[in-house]
Amino acid sequence: MKEKQPTVFIVDDDDGVRASIRLLLKSIGYTATPMASAQEFLSAFDPAQPGCLVLDIRMPGMSGMELQQQLNLRGATLPVIFITGHGDVPMAVEAMQHGAFDFLQKPFRDQDLIDRVQKALKRDQETRTALQKHDQIRQKLESLTPREREVLNLMIKGQQNKVMAAELGLSQRTVEIHRAHVMEKMEAGSVAQLVRMVLDLG
């Protein structure tokens, strides 16, 4: 799988604010993609694109809050940093309750924005790594036959081969073969590791 470069999306209807944030991020070497409206961002939205979103909370048409809702509905994990005006604290609080990564009040210190963007990008990467790991585990699980799946379920309950054989109506030898296949397909070094993999999926 090709790794995409992270980008910082800036969605703000104010030309000056948007362009200045882009240049500020460029000055520390970040790639930023400025966009003038929430609609523009949504129509170009690619869940596979890593990065974070710097989002103006107040915009005509679709507001920042509404864009956040739309992203939540699509199950997007992109961290959102809200930019708010002076009197917008109650809105910012609401945005945080809906899972915003952080918010900044205008005008903000450049370092505050940079710190938050850095943290948001790190969070995004962690989230993506975790999701990728989950995907891999899920794929491995899907490669198991129904019988192997039954064996795995009993293995993580800590059942002995003898009990499993009785429960599944198989010979102990057959259970042992299934068990080896499960360990092999799941690429697990130990039963403990196997248990953790399955628990990670939640």
Partner: protein
Amino acid sequence: MPSSQLLAVMDAAVDAVVLIDHAGSILAINRSGEQMFGWAPGELVGRNVSELMPEPWRSRHDGFLQRYLETGVSTIIGTGRELQAQRRDGSVFPAHLSVGRVEGIDPPQFVGFIRDTTSLHEHIASVQEQVRRSGDRLMHVSRMATMGEMAAGIAHELNQPLTAIANYARASERFLASPDADLADVREAVSEIAVEALRAGTIIRRLRQLVRGGDDARETADLNEVIEELRVLTVADARMHDTRIRFELQKGLPGVSMHRTQVMQALLNLLRNALEALGGEPPPEREIVVRTTRNADGDCEVAVCDNGPGVAPEILDRMFDPFLTTKKQGTGLGLPMSRTIAQAHGGSVRYEPASPRGACFTLTLPPAGTVP
């Protein structure tokens, strides 16, 4: 010649009392009269009474008398009127004159009673000035109240260029600190800083115009231009209320003779009402359209239409009354003030429901040169 007792009675009067013969010669004048007109005692007797009035009446007075003697018709006897009187030194003062014909004497004699009304006129002028000032004051107070309602939006709007400037400055600093700095980036930042600073300046200039203005002289201005000047503040206010605002300005409108700040105030009131009216609507739906046109009568019109609930039927016939407000912190002066301003410009403000829903307030102003 009047008897000495009659002269004593005349001298007791506060007003000037002048007795003249049929040719206009002064037969007698009391002391108050001599003082009022600045003459020494006895000096006026024998002079023509027309010397007590300025031109053009001075030259015409003999003619007036002559005509009365010939026709018996007078426009002044028995009625009295306000006119200008002239002192010996040539200065003119307002006076009230009533004239009577002395009965039983031929050729006729006339008696005039003259009251100096200078202080009365001064009093009237000062009352008028007070009324004008109260009106100006009220207009100012109402405008300040409107500005107060817009403060949050304006503060936000000023914050935008300040934020951009701070970002550009910090970005420049960082670019310059890096060994392989690309000066093109710094140049862009510095040039944008200037743009943003000017933008902040424009907002402040528009603000000052509204805060300070009010005593601006009448001038001929394009309504579209006035709307453009309000645009930055209005858009900021609308943004604060999560409302879209659209401008549909018809080009080539004739100039309107106006007190610019007053017309701005009238428009601001309509715009603010529209924003307030949309408060209960879901934010994505809220929209205001500002449309200028020239109507069938050739007058300029600005319609401010919202897609809110419209004006409630129960206040339809009272909405232009002062102190009627549907806002939590309204003064109730907005609409009446807009209408007063429109009428002072020979125009009007009218209401129509918008289609499919909402309110439309239209300010109509006649083009310059069509109203006195």
